[in-house]
C-alpha cells in the first residue's frame, strides 16, 4: 500500500469536502468552491495546522515524559494528580501561564522584550516544517533541508540574547552572554559533525540521508561524529551538564529571569521544541530515521504510520538518554565548556570527517565490494 502522506490526506480531505459542497450549492458559489487554487490554499492550511498541532502536542508530551522520567531517577513520582498520571499537567501549566498577567519591567526595552520570545518560539517551531518525520510527512522535499534546518536552529542565540539584553536585568544579561558564547562555540563542531554525515550519505536532503541508512545506520561508522553531535546538541538545548545560561544556582533563572506569563511559556515551550528537534536530528542523521533494520519482522514495520511510530520511539529513547544525563551529572563551568568546545570537540569532529572519508574510500575499494552499496 502507498505510504500515507500528510499533504495527500489533507488535500484529498479538503477537495472532497469542497467538491461535495460545490455539488450542493448554486452556481456562482460552486464554481468558486471548486476552484483549484482555493483547494490548494485550504489543504495547505489544513496541512500546516495539523503539523503544528501534532508537533506542539508532541512537545508537551515530551515535557511530561521528562518530568516523569526525572521523577523516577530521583526516586519520586513526578506530576501525577492532574489527569491520568499527570498527563494533563502541562496543559494546566500552559493555560495558567496564558491567563497570567503579562507585563514588562519598567526599564525593559518593549520591542525586544516582547519580540524575542515570540521570535524564539517561531524559530523553533519552523523546524517542525523542515524536518521530515516519515516519508511524506514533511513540508516538501527540499534538496538542502539539512542546511536549512541547521541555519534555523542556530538563529536562537540571537533571540535569546535579544531577550536577555532587553529585559534590563544583570542576571539575564550574564545568562544571555553565556548562551550566545556557548551556542556559537558549539555551532562549529555540530556543523563539522554534520559534514561527516553528508560525506557518507552524499546528500543535504534529510529524506535522502535517512534513505541512505536503510542498510546500516550511520552511528556505527560515525560514532565519533555522533558523540560530538550529542554534546553539541546538549549545549544547544541548554541542558545539564551544559545548562549554564539558566544555571539556577548562580543566575536566578538565567536569561528568562524577567519573563513571566505567556512570554515565559513561549520560552519554555520553545526550549522543549528545540529539545525535540535536537532529538529528531540525532535520529535522522545517525539512527536511521524512520527505518528499521531489515531483520525486524515485517508485522512490526508494515502497519499504517509505522514510520512515524518508530521515529517517535527512537526520538523518545534519545531524549531519555538526555534525561539520564541530566539526572546524574553536575553542571560544568563556562570556561571549561568553551574550552571543551574549541579544543576537544572541533578536533574530534575533524577526525570524524576523516573517518567518514575513509569509509567512503573503503567502499570504492574492491576488497569491500561486498558491503552494501550506497544509495543507488
Amino acid at each position: 500500500m502507498a505510504p500515507l502522506s500528510l499533504y495527500g490526506v489533507s488535500n484529498s480531505l479538503v477537495s472532497t469536502l469542497l467538491l461535495h459542497l460545490a455539488a450542493v450549492l448554486p452556481a456562482p458559489l460552486s464554481t468558486l468552491l471548486s476552484n483549484g487554487d482555493l483547494i490548494l490554499l485550504l489543504s495547505v492550511l489544513v496541512f500546516c495546522g495539523t503539523l503544528l498541532g501534532a508537533s506542539l502536542l508532541n512537545t508537551i508530551l515530551l515535557i511530561w515524559f521528562e518530568r516523569k522520567m526525572l521523577g523516577r531517577f530521583m526516586d519520586r513520582r513526578g506530576a501525577m494528580h492532574v489527569g491520568y498520571a499527570g498527563l494533563l499537567q502541562n496543559f494546566a501549566d500552559g493555560l495558567k501561564l496564558f491567563r497570567k498577567h503579562t507585563f514588562r519591567p519598567q526599564d525593559a526595552d518593549p520591542l525586544g522584550f516582547f519580540s524575542a520570545p515570540t521570535a524564539y518560539m517561531v524559530a523553533s517551531i519552523v523546524m517542525f516544517g523542515i524536518l521530515p518525520v516519515s516519508t511524506g510527512w514533511s513540508a516538501g522535499t527540499l534538496p538542502l533541508s539539512l542546511l536549512l534546518a541547521l541555519v534555523v536552529f542556530s538563529f536562537a542565540p540571537l533571540f535569546i540574547f535579544l531577550g536577555a539584553w532587553s529585559s534590563a536585568n544583570k542576571y539575564s544579561l550574564i545568562g544571555g552572554m553565556r548562551s550566545a558564547a556557548q551556542m556559537i562555540a558549539y555551532e562549529v563542531p555540530i556543523l563539522l559533525a554534520v559534514v561527516a554525515v553528508v560525506l557518507l550519505s552524499g546528500s543535504f536532503d534529510l529524506t535522502t540521508i535517512v534513505n541512505e541508512q536503510r542498510n546500516y545506520w550511520f552511528w556505527g561508522p560515525l560514532f565519533l561524529a555522533l558523540i560530538v553531535f550529542v554534546a553539541g546538541m546538549l549545549a544547544e538545548m541548554e541542558r545539564i551538564p551544559f545548562d549554564l545560561p539558566e544555571a539556577e544556582a548562580e543566575l536566578v533563572e538565567g536569561w528568562n529571569t524577567e519573563f513571566g506569563g505567556m512570554l515565559f511559556a513561549f520560552f519554555m515551550l520553545a526550549d522543549y521544541a528545540r529539545a525535540l528537534v535536537g532529538s529528531y536530528l540525532i535520529v535522522l542523521l545517525f539512527l536511521g530515521g524512520w527505518t528499521l533494520p531489515s531483520w525486524v519482522p515485517a508485522p512490526l514495520t508494515n502497519f499504517p504510520l509505522a514510520g512515524i511510530f518508530w521515529f517517535q520511539v527512537k526520538t523518545y529513547l534519545v531524549f531519555g538518554v538526555f534525561i539520564w544525563i541530566r539526572a546524574s551529572l553536575p553542571r560544568v563551568r563556562t570556561d571549561q565548556l568553551l574550552r571543551v568546545g574549541w579544543m576537544r570537540m572541533i578536533p574530534l569532529s575533524l577526525l570524524s570527517i576523516v573517518l567518514a572519508a575513509l569509509v567512503v574510500l573503503a567502499k570504492c575499494l574492491p576488497v569491500f565490494g561486498c558491503l552494501p552499496s550506497m544509495g543507488s
Binding site: 523516577r72 531517577f73 530521583m74 526516586d75 519520586r76 513520582r77 546524574s328 551529572l329
Partner: protein, 256 residues
C-alpha cells in the same frame, strides 16, 4: 585525602560512567514504586504505615512509634481538667489563655485552656505540665486555615480533638519526688480562706487556730483564727494559692 576513607579514587578513568550507572540503578529501583508517599491517599499516621517507611521496593526501614510521639494539636479532656493554670504558665510562647467553660459553679467558674495555634511552638511543655493528664498532644498536624482567627482553638474545639481518639504519646514525664512544697509564713496569715477557696485540687483545708488571749497592753492582730494546711500528696504545685494570697504569706520552700 582523609584517612580510612572509602572514597572513590581521584583519577576518574571512567570519566562520567560511575554517576550515570548509579543514577540508572536508582532509576531501576524506583521505576515501579518510588519511595514517595502519595500524601492525601497514603498517610504516615495511617496504621498501615505507622512504624515503617518505604525507601525502595523490598527495603522497608522501621522507624518505631514515629507517630505516637509526634507533637501536634492538643486534645483536652474538659471533664478532668481542674483549671490549675499550669499549662498556661508553662507555655513559653504565651499562647494559652484560660477561658471560662460552662459547667462550673457561678462563683468559681471553670477555666480551661484555649490555645492559639498561630503562636504555639508545639514544645509540649504544657502537656508535660498537666498534672491530671487531661491536656495532651495528638498526632494531628493538618492545621491550614484561611482565617487567622480560626487558629484559635477554644476548649470545646480541643475537646473535639480529644473525642476523635487520635493516637497520643505514651511518654508521660513523671512528677518528681523531692519537690518543693507550699509553705506558710504563719505570722502574716490572716486566715482569709482565699487559698483554700481557689485551690483547684481542694488540697488546702483551713484548720482552726486557738485564739490567744490578749495580754495587757498587747493588741491582737485582726484576723480570722484559721490557718491553711496543704495536703502535699494532692497538691499539684500550681501556685494558685500563692498568687491569690492577699498577704503574700505563702511561698515555695523545701520541707525542713
Amino acid at each position: 585525602m582523609s584517612e580510612s576513607t572509602t572514597a572513590e579514587s581521584n583519577s576518574s578513568v571512567l570519566w562520567v560512567a560511575k554517576p550515570l550507572i548509579t543514577a540508572a540503578r536508582q532509576f531501576g529501583k524506583s521505576l515501579l514504586r518510588p519511595s514517595t508517599i502519595v500524601y492525601p491517599f497514603e498517610r504516615l499516621e495511617d496504621p498501615k504505615f505507622r512504624g515503617a517507611v518505604r525507601i525502595a521496593p523490598g527495603k522497608p526501614i522501621g522507624v518505631g512509634q514515629v507517630w505516637d510521639n509526634y507533637r501536634g494539636v492538643h486534645a483536652l479532656n474538659i471533664e478532668t481538667c481542674i483549671s490549675c493554670n499550669l499549662c498556661a504558665f508553662s507555655c513559653p510562647d504565651l499562647c494559652i489563655d484560660m477561658v471560662t467553660v460552662p459547667g462550673g459553679d457561678p462563683k468559681h467558674p471553670k477555666k480551661c485552656p484555649q490555645i492559639d495555634y498561630g503562636k504555639c511552638s508545639y514544645c509540649g511543655f504544657c502537656s508535660d505540665a498537666c498534672p491530671e493528664g487531661c491536656l495532651s498532644m495528638t498526632t494531628r498536624y493538618e492545621l491550614s486555615v484561611s482565617k487567622r482567627s480560626d487558629m484559635i482553638y477554644s476548649p470545646q474545639r480541643l475537646e473535639e480533638v480529644f473525642k476523635a481518639k487520635l493516637p497520643m504519646s505514651p511518654i508521660r514525664v513523671e512528677r518528681p519526688k523531692n519537690e518543693d512544697a507550699i509553705l506558710l509564713d504563719p505570722p502574716l496569715c490572716i486566715g482569709c480562706n482565699a487559698c483554700a477557696r481557689d485551690c483547684p485540687t481542694k488540697c488546702i483545708t483551713m484548720v482552726d487556730l486557738p485564739k490567744p488571749v490578749a495580754k495587757a497592753g498587747e493588741k491582737l492582730p485582726k484576723r480570722i483564727w484559721k490557718e491553711p494546711v496543704v495536703n502535699d500528696s494532692d497538691c499539684v504545685r500550681c501556685g494558685t494559692c500563692i498568687s491569690v494570697c492577699p498577704k503574700e504569706c505563702l511561698f515555695w520552700g523545701t520541707h525542713r
